[in-house]
């Protein structure tokens, strides 16, 4: 009977140790699918149509990083939200948007739908970099995230008129037990920040203004608030 009791205690301790070990290991791996609200910008659309080019990986982008000093392994799926966000944004910034795979409006190009007017220009949007910092590494009280996008403006012939790299930044105070929620909020804020800059600053760039003039658009660039 005594031996049975000792064995039971031994097995209980072993089971407890394994459970604690599993919990510790699981807490070092974080998986996040960035999700959030997609607002529609309250701006006047530019009276032009564009062909929007995004690389295939834009909508499926996954960021993987192993942080130093016990920060854990992070897998962050960013593609779905940023794709939907910028689709909505460009639909509002421009009067007409056609998603295309390649440049050009020649008859043999199949990217432009039959019977649809050739767009006034093309915009290629790509994600250059996504980065984040947890409080343990930054020494601050919040998670921060940044998104770096590149916008290339090309005319109807495919010549590059303007290249602009825009960075969006976001941060969110993180509770100790909710790191993925805080990083999600910071990432959404970074995408929104980049979107706000595209909506408000991009049309005021000199090369963009020149292109708008060339396609017959009279645009009065009000100063950014």
């Amino acid at each position: 009977m005594k031996r049975f009791k000792i064995n039971r205690v031994k097995w209980s301790l072993r089971a407890f140790s394994v459970t604690v070990l599993c919990a510790l290991l699981a807490s070092c791996t974080h998986t996040l699918t960035v999700s959030g609200r997609i607002p529609t910008p309250l701006i006047e659309p530019l009276p032009v149509s564009i062909g929007l080019i995004r690389p295939p990986e834009f909508s499926t982008h996954i960021h993987r990083e192993k942080l130093p000093r016990g920060g854990g392994d992070w897998t962050i799926e960013l593609g779905a939200l940023q794709n939907a966000f910028f689709e909505n944004l460009f639909d509002t910034v421009f009067q007409g948007v056609q998603p295309v795979d390649t440049l050009g409006c020649r008859a043999e190009d199949k990217s432009i739908a039959v019977g649809v007017r050739c767009p006034d220009g093309f915009v290629r949007l790509s994600l250059l970099e996504y980065a984040f910092l947890p409080p343990e590494l930054s020494g601050l009280k919040f998670f921060s995230a940044s998104t770096k996008y590149q916008l290339e403006l090309m005319n109807a012939d495919g010549a590059v008129l303007d290249t602009w790299v825009v960075v969006g930044y976001g941060k969110n105070e993180g509770g100790g037990f909710q790191p993925t929620d805080a990083l999600n909020a910071a990432s959404v804020e970074a995408i929104r920040d980049a979107g706000a800059r595209v909506a408000l600053e991009w049309p005021k760039r000199r090369n963009v203004q020149t292109w708008l003039d060339s396609v017959g658009v009279k645009n009065d660039p009000k100063p950014i608030m």
Partner: protein, 233 residues
Amino acid sequence: MSWKAGLRVAARRVTGAFGLVPVVLLLLLGGCATTRVEQSRQTNAVLGTGEAMVILGRATYNDRETEESFTDCLADILSQGSNPIRLVSEDQFKDDLYPWFEARTAPTNANDLGRLFAEAGVQAQIDQSSIRYLAWIEGDTVTVDKGGSMSCAVSTFGGGCFGMSYWEQDASYEASIWDLKNLSASGQISADSNGTSYLAGLVLPIPILARPGNAACKGLAAQLRVFITGVDD
């Protein structure tokens, strides 16, 4: 003696002949924070029937920003009571007015409201929501001093915590109220709260929390209600 019996003896010695009464009294007395609220008013206009207010936490790109929990606390208090104020949530407001109230693009003072309202759709959106006042909340709660020491140990004979540690916190917040009908600043309300929290180790760790952030929230909310409605709760 088993560890359970040891813990019982230790707890009995802590509570003494009067039971848990001293411990409970200590907890109740310890939760004190001093608060000072000040107000500066530029107009006498108050919230009309059907009009709403928005509470926004000012976000900056440095290492300090107003905690979301503080603005949530303000919203909870103001939307309840005998004289509740109709509030539009911060998230809803930012979405409806995107991209004009993001951290990078939001107006920094009431003088910018005129230019903002000249943008297409902004005035119409504000009118649709019947938002009259916008309250920008700035500030945070910081730990200004801490000390003491506490150690906790567990062994096969029992365990417990012994020692005493403390931390002093200062909560300083300011609300800037903008009138979206007259496109001007209506006034400012500031709330400063200070308190010291303790953690006493008497076998069990006994927290005695001052919560100056909560005290600042209550003080600021009460004054904001009087400012906006002209009626005390």
